[in-house]
Amino acid sequence: MHIVVCVKQVPDTKIIKINPKTNTLDRRSAPAILNPYDAHAVQEAARIKSRTGGTVTVLSMGPPQAVAVIKKSVEIGADRGYLISDRAFAGADTLATSYALSKALEKIEQESPVDLVICGKHAIDGDTGQVGPGIARRIDIPPITNVIEVSKINSDEKKIVVKRKQLNGYELIESQIPCLLTVEKEINDIGYSPMPNMIKAARYEPVIWSVADLGEVDRAQLGLKGSPTIVGKMFSPPRPEGGKKIEGEPTEQIKELMKLLEEKIDLFCFKA
């Protein structure tokens, strides 16, 4: 099995700070990390490899410092990694990102055919979850999103069975290989990487490709130029109207609260 995992470097949105005046990101406040869902994707690839044998390759698009997430992936269990990094990729939205990554995948495929592509459910900086299905369309393999378990994998018959998370429960889906999975965090627990992996990762020098290395590429589909969406204005989220204090007898207070909640009842989901 040759499994390719797409991994992205993202600012840690848990600690990110926004300058309230300019509505811009305080970069200093946000360390760059491996997108948490992608860590699970790498872990799952390593687990599949331990069952079927093979190679786990990671692929990332980003600035030069994104080699850090490839090294991190090697810690988790990847064998090797490629970073595509070029000014021409800058400013890409999900459409342009999936284009660039699919081109890199084609190049990787030339060296060794790819059986499975795994992405995270979404990247925590953009929260879109669009890149995975986008890649699948471009290289024409079926996407299966929101996977919570790889139940069966048969590399001889080229078949895989996975659980896909749904609104109320899950679906069991069978697919041909190659296919593309996007994974949820539930799919596995990230183990504590063994020391030899750590040493290997510390030494590992990822391969960096520029646009020119990718072969035939339509530059008009890359980066800002290739991105149909643009960010218009940024603004602070409307704050809850706030500050209504309800005093008095508990029974009365509750009555009033329930009345107020009545208007917000759509925040609760009632199921018949």
Partner: protein, 341 residues
């Protein structure tokens, strides 16, 4: 681009029923359509879905584009994507909205790639500029700290997935008239590379903190581990996830991974109950972006009230039991249970 006209909404059907988010989108789409003076259409795919088209019209659509086919019985990206892309290429809508559900997001991503157009994910506010005919899709960015408006100026259709429960559905109106256009589609089961083997319904387990829609958090004000059980009880009643302050975690009333705040989890649920929590800044930074904050504290000057949407001043041990009763009544009234995805 000039030829693209009309607003489309993808109608998601599960077990023969339209998902709430699709009805909400018909409501939102209606407004956009009226502003642009174009028709609103629902895109209805499935097997034996004919009878549902009436409902789509009742909720605001002028047109229903329908594809009824055995291959579309259950959602599969490839089948749905092919049908939708064929329709969009034929009728050329200018705006196309999907619910931000697992299926809606999956489908929209694939369709956008094939149509080479822009797609905005997880939108929570929608508007349109009638002059430029530009969809203004706004969404939280960077972990909900900020809102960004995303535009797609040069490609059509302009597409967005929209979060469930943020738009309002219209009151259904059975007298509304609309047109149902049935599309021939050419799909063969044998060409499908994926198969749904089984669908398993699960009563949703309470989500983890980061993903929880409703959180009941308790603080030192609950007195002791025993008093803290009240927090668990309220959470259980309304299907919420339990969280707490660092003091509570340090006291051993809650495991560490349920601590909210600077050194714990950052959460952005729809509703956050802060009970017996003073509202120290280290706690508040972890929960202040919740949509609705309800605080219960006996100290009227507790800083938690500065961030609370509604603040109940009083003794948690008097208020919470009554609150639990009230919710139980409400749930009975609605006939069922509360759950969040």
């Amino acid at each position: 681009m000039e030829e693209n006209r009309g607003i489309w909404v993808f109608i998601e059907v599960t077990d023969g029923k339209v998902e709430g988010v699709s009805l909400e989108l018909l409501g939102a789409g209606r407004k956009l359509a009226d502003k642009l003076e174009v028709p609103l259409a629902g895109v209805l795919l499935g097997h034996d879905v004919r009878k549902i088209s009436a409902k789509v019209i009742e909720y605001g659509a002028d047109i229903v584009y329908m594809a009824d086919h055995a291959v579309l019985e259950l959602y599969r990206t490839e089948a749905f994507m092919k049908a939708v892309v064929a329709m969009a290429e034929k009728y050329k809508p200018e705006i196309f909205l999907y619910g931000a559900t697992p299926n809606g997001k999956d489908l929209a991503s694939a369709v956008a790639t094939d149509l080479s157009t822009g797609l905005t994910a997880d939108t929570t506010m929608l508007d349109v500029d009638p002059e430029k005919r530009l969809l203004e899709a706004s969404r939280p960015a960077f972990g909900g700290n900020i809102m960004a408006t995303i535009l797609c100026k040069k490609h059509r259709p302009q597409m967005a997935t929209v979060r469930p429960k943020v738009m309002k559905a219209l009151e259904p109106d059975a007298s509304r008239k609309g047109e149902v256009i049935e599309e021939e589609i050419h799909l063969e089961e044998s060409e499908m590379r994926t198969k749904v083997l089984q669908i398993v319904k699960e009563t949703t387990k309470t989500a983890n903190l980061a993903e929880a829609h409703v959180i009941v958090a308790g603080g030192k004000g609950m007195g002791d581990k025993n008093g803290f059980m009240l927090i668990h009880e309220l959470a259980k009643t309304i299907g919420a996830t339990v969280g707490g302050t660092r003091d509570v975690v340090e006291a051993g009333w809650l495991p560490h991974d349920q601590q909210i705040g600077q050194t714990g989890e950052t959460v952005t649920p729809k509703i956050y109950f802060a009970i017996g929590i003073s509202g120290a800044i280290q706690h508040v930074v972890g929960m202040k972006n919740s949509e609705l904050i309800i605080a219960i504290n006996k100290d009227p000057d507790a800083p938690i009230f500065d961030v609370a949407t509604y603040g109940l001043v009083g003794d948690a041990f008097e208020i919470v039991p009554q609150l639990i009763e009230k919710f139980k009544e409400l749930i009975k009234e609605k006939g069922g249970e509360i759950s969040y995805v």
